[in-house]
């Protein structure tokens, strides 16, 4: 994965595409959308209780680095921000991070986890995602490229991994076409149609069996191409509609390809031997390119601006990334029976997404500018905890395994460049994902520490190595610090990006006094305890 980062130069060419987006950036340079977010959230919170105040600079700098750069800030980065007297410094930092080299890596990690759900990694796929976020590719284009992958271009071919990994046979099981269908609905439309596979959904009136079948007919027609060495997906000829019937009433029905809520796509008929743009070739195993390609047709319909579910799902997921909870929650339960917490806000965000042509940076920027995003995470004292869907205080956000890894490296001062790991980088990343990621196919939404993650932090060599003293690293700096107050300040700023409270500083002092004869062990234990703390493992 990190080697692909180094070869990134090859794909910077793609960022030319992004320049056409700069007009959109300028158009949304005001904070109009941010203001509307705040109005909507304030109106809704009125009945629940007061809004928390703006978070302080240390809290903000940690939060925004984690969200946009995928890691905590280093001590110099944090101090530069905290000590700056520029009244506009938050806006400036947001813009700086959005154009930093960390940003595409961060988005790669987040969308890789979201779209592949820890099914596995692939170099072509990573290259594709990274280049896409480097170029700030519009989401509708990105989604189209994934839903109808083009194997003819090196830069785009990795997109097929979304399909090929799901079309892989696992052991003796059949190819999971229903699973692929379900994931297209969940991840691109926010609709989990699986319970509508065999009958209209029992609890969700809006999910019809025909909705599932209209997508299923497309994906059960696909296969993994065997003539290419990289992930690539092919389509068989489609000559007739999909027949289906409800397991309840057994009435025969049929549908052609159709996006849920959209129009059925006619299946064109061709003369014998006229079905292909490029005919199959048995010698090379080339499967041929049919004239009618349902994947292409669906990719167009599904991502069009007239498909409200597509835009709503997109902004809901961006909102979730930044705010820790979807306006529609769970993220894949978008339907009338599960209304969004802020219906008009979701609509405004979706419309804004269409207006700025699915420009991810612009939307993330507007969310980050809002007072809602910049709210303090501490609960009001005494009162009952506000409901998470009111956003009266900032919600805690689960960190990805990659965010935790990069932050551990920054906190412990293990590497100069936090996005790169020396030596066995990929193996190390895999170890963090194994410890902190969910099991394959399980969406990573809530904070879920496990026995795996605790044993990893307690005993794994990777963590222990980061805590070995080396010139200039955290443990070294703490060991060299002359008094307890400096140890406490350096420790809390490095790991938690904040000053210790008086109480915390006193505890450090006390612990160091008791262990005066073994200072290095003592500061190592202090550093470990903060790395293993809930405060470090969450973005808040």
């Amino acid at each position: 994965m990190h080697s692909t980062l180094r070869t990134l130069g090859l794909f910077v060419v793609l960022s030319v595409i992004a320049s056409s987006r700069s007009a959109n950036m300028a158009q949304a340079a005001d904070d109009g959308l941010a203001k509307r977010i705040d109005e909507s959230v304030a109106a809704k919170a009125k009945d629940d209780g007061p809004l928390a105040s703006n978070c302080d600079d240390p809290a903000f700098v940690r939060r925004i680095y984690l969200d946009l750069a995928g890691r905590i800030p280093s001590v110099p980065e944090a101090l530069a921000f905290i000590q700056s007297s520029d009244a506009n410094k938050r806006v400036a930092l947001i813009d700086k991070l959005l154009s930093s080299a960390d940003y595409p890596r961060r988005m790669h990690d987040q969308f890789h986890a979201m779209l592949m759900e820890r099914r596995g990694d692939n170099a072509d796929w990573s290259k594709y995602l990274l280049a896409s976020f480097e170029a700030n590719k519009p989401w509708d284009q990105l989604a189209r490229e994934i839903l109808d992958p083009d194997s003819n271009y090196d830069a785009l071919r990795g997109a097929a991994f979304f399909h090929t990994k799901r079309l892989d046979k696992v052991g003796q099981q059949e190819t999971d076409y229903p699973g692929l269908t379900r994931d297209v609905g969940r991840l691109f439309l926010g609709m989990d149609l699986q319970c509508a596979q065999c009958h209209n959904h029992l609890f969700i009136d809006a999910y019809k069996q025909a909705d599932f079948q209209g997508l299923f007919t497309v994906y059960q027609n696909t296969f993994i191409r065997t003539d290419l060495k990289f992930p690539a997906v092919g389509e068989k000829l489609m000559t007739k509609k999909q027949d289906f019937s409800s397991v309840f009433d057994k009435v025969a029905m049929s549908t052609g390809p159709r996006v849920p809520g959209g129009k059925e796509i006619d299946i064109p008929m061709f003369e014998k031997n006229q079905e292909y743009v490029t005919a199959p070739d048995r010698k090379t195993n080339f499967p041929g390119v049919p004239k009618f390609r349902p994947m292409q047709a669906i990719a167009q319909d599904l991502t069009s601006a007239s498909n409200k579910s597509f835009a709503a799902n997109y902004v809901n997921r961006l909102w979730f990334v930044m705010m820790g909870r979807g306006l529609v929650n769970p993220l894949d339960q978008q339907h009338v029976g599960n209304p969004p917490s802020h219906p008009e806000l979701l609509e405004q965000l979706a419309q804004a997404a269409i207006d700025v042509k699915f420009d991810t940076k612009t939307l993330l920027r507007q969310i980050a500018l809002s007072a809602t995003y910049q709210r303090d995470a501490q609960l009001p004292s005494g009162a009952d905890a506000p409901k998470p869907e009111t956003y009266r205080v900032a919600n805690e956000k689960r960190m990805t395994a990659e965010q935790i890894m990069s932050s551990v490296l920054v906190a412990t001062g293990t590497h100069e460049k936090p996005t790169e790991l020396k030596g066995e980088a990929e193996k190390n990343r895999a170890a963090f994902v194994k410890a902190f990621g969910n099991v394959p196919t399980d969406p990573e939404v809530e904070f879920s520490p496990s026995l795996k993650s605790s044993l990893f932090l307690l005993n794994d060599t990777l963590i222990m190595d980061c805590l070995q003293s080396a010139p200039g690293n955290l443990v070294d700096r703490l060991t060299q610090a002359t008094d307890a107050a400096s140890v406490a300040n350096e420790l809390y700023l490095s790991v938690l990006t904040r000053k210790p409270s008086a109480e915390e500083a006193a505890d450090v002092d006390d612990y160091l006094k008791k262990n005066a004869d073994r200072k290095q062990a003592a500061v190592t234990n202090l550093a470990w305890s903060l790395l293993a703390s809930t405060e470090f493992c969450l973005n808040h």
Partner: protein
């Protein structure tokens, strides 16, 4: 997991919930470092536990619990008397036969699937009525329904040959956290050993300092996160203290001899130690029971290797008074054909087979159900795996006909609703 329709979105069990559930079961203390035999009473835990022995591939009922010597399909082995007059086992079960007064055997099991690939899952998930959801394995079900205990140890462990890890697929719609922690070849999970650079004092300090940091954080943030974090650290530290569960070199030589030095013997002995340590559900696996060829030599070796540790663990659990609360089950995905095939093997036979049980909630020393004279079919009321799930749930105090799962708003019966507990088995 892709096929798991209708996923649940319930919240993680927070530490507070765990503690709430176990409040009634308080009073049992840890047993670290205490000598075992002297503490027979101390080992009696107040909560229910399960030992589930899975003989993968299909043990032959005729060479084990339901011998038919001198009949058409009976095979070469004799039947021997057991500790209960009138009840006979195959002569391949001499040790277990001595424990029959603790056992409950069902000889009228009749199930639906004769394929391994689907059968293993169907049987262990209880073969509930198909609603398009994937039901949990019995271990995941029990872990969910009984709730956590106060041992601080993982609730559902699986001791098996080959590889280990976290087996989330067991959990079905309950969600990954109810999966099993598998100890491959009885080996501990990754990272259980304290790192060489960390002293005992360091470890103790780190645990205390982390707890303090989390306590501070929880004063101004929602409690759920720190509760969940503390829970997994406490469990990790607790399990680290129990390296003895994995260090086979320290097992008592007498126990090793009684249980057998082979894998299954070693794993069964480990299972006893896990139960003593307080794990709720311990599954022990043995592979290679699919005796399509040379069933009789195969059974001679396999059943004997099962008999020795199974007899030993029943004896030990009984002696320690643990059978009052520990439910023991030994079974496969199906039985084997009475008819012997051309390779002197027996094939898959779900029509008429046996399951051996003991302990919590069950009658002692009884045989329920009967097959016909040559063992081909069940003569009495046939019992499917759904009846067994009902029975086992009730044996550990869960009313299987009233209790339901809540799968994201969808109520689901915990066992097949057309079936019922087997009254003759229940105490």
């Amino acid at each position: 997991m892709n096929n798991s329709l209708c996923k649940p979105w319930e919240h993680r069990l927070s530490r507070r919930q765990w503690l709430g559930v176990t409040a009634g079961a308080a009073g049992v203390v840890g047993l670290n470092g205490l000598p075992m035999p002297a503490l027979a009473d101390g080992l009696k835990r107040k909560y229910k536990q399960i030992l589930f022995v899975w003989l993968d591939g299909g043990v032959s009922q005729l060479e084990s619990w339901d011998p038919k010597p001198n009949t058409e399909f009976g095979g070469p082995f004799r039947a021997i008397p057991t500790s209960v007059p009138g009840v006979h086992f195959s002569e391949l079960l001499p040790h277990t036969a001595k424990q029959m007064h603790h056992l409950a055997i069902c000889r009228s099991v009749c199930t639906q699937d004769d394929a391994h690939s689907s059968g293993v899952d169907r049987i262990q998930r209880g073969d509930a009525k198909n609603r398009g959801v994937i039901y949990p394995y019995f271990g995941s079900a029990v872990t969910k329904l009984l709730g956590p205990n106060d041992s601080g140890l993982p609730p559902y462990v699986w001791i098996k040959p080959l590889s280990g890890g976290f087996m989330h697929k067991d959990a079905g719609f309950l969600g990954a956290k109810y999966g099993s922690l598998a100890f491959g070849d009885g080996k501990p999970p990754e990272n259980l050993l304290k790192h060489a650079s960390v002293s005992d004092q360091d470890l103790q300090d780190r645990a205390a300092l982390r707890a303090l940091a989390d306590k501070r954080y929880s004063q101004t943030h929602r409690a759920g996160s720190t509760e969940a974090n503390s829970f997994v650290f406490d469990m990790g530290l607790e399990l680290m203290k129990r390296q003895d569960l994995f260090d086979t070199t320290k097992f008592s030589p007498r126990d090793v001899e009684r249980y057998g030095t082979h894998d299954l013997g070693r794993h069964m002995l480990q299972a006893r130690k896990m139960l003593e340590a307080g794990v709720t559900f311990v599954k022990v696996n043995s592979y290679g029971w699919d005796t399509h060829g040379d069933n009789f030599n195969g059974s001679l070796s396999l059943v004997s290797r099962f008999d020795q540790p199974f007899g030993a663990i029943i004896e030990d659990l009984a002696e320690r008074g643990m059978l009052d609360n520990v439910l023991v089950i030994a079974m496969s995905e199906f039985g084997r054909t009475p008819r012997v095939n051309g390779h002197l093997g027996r094939d898959h036979w779900p029509e008429a087979w046996s399951i051996a049980m003991a302990g919590s909630g069950l009658k002692k020393g009884i045989v329920v159900g009967e097959t016909n004279d040559n063992g081909t079919y069940v003569k009495t009321e046939p019992y499917d795996i759904g009846h067994m799930f009902h029975t086992w749930f009730n044996a550990i105090g869960i009313n299987s006909e009233k209790t339901e799962y809540n799968n994201a708003g969808q109520p689901l019966p915990i066992a097949h609703e057309d079936m019922h507990p087997i009254k003759e088995l229940l105490a």
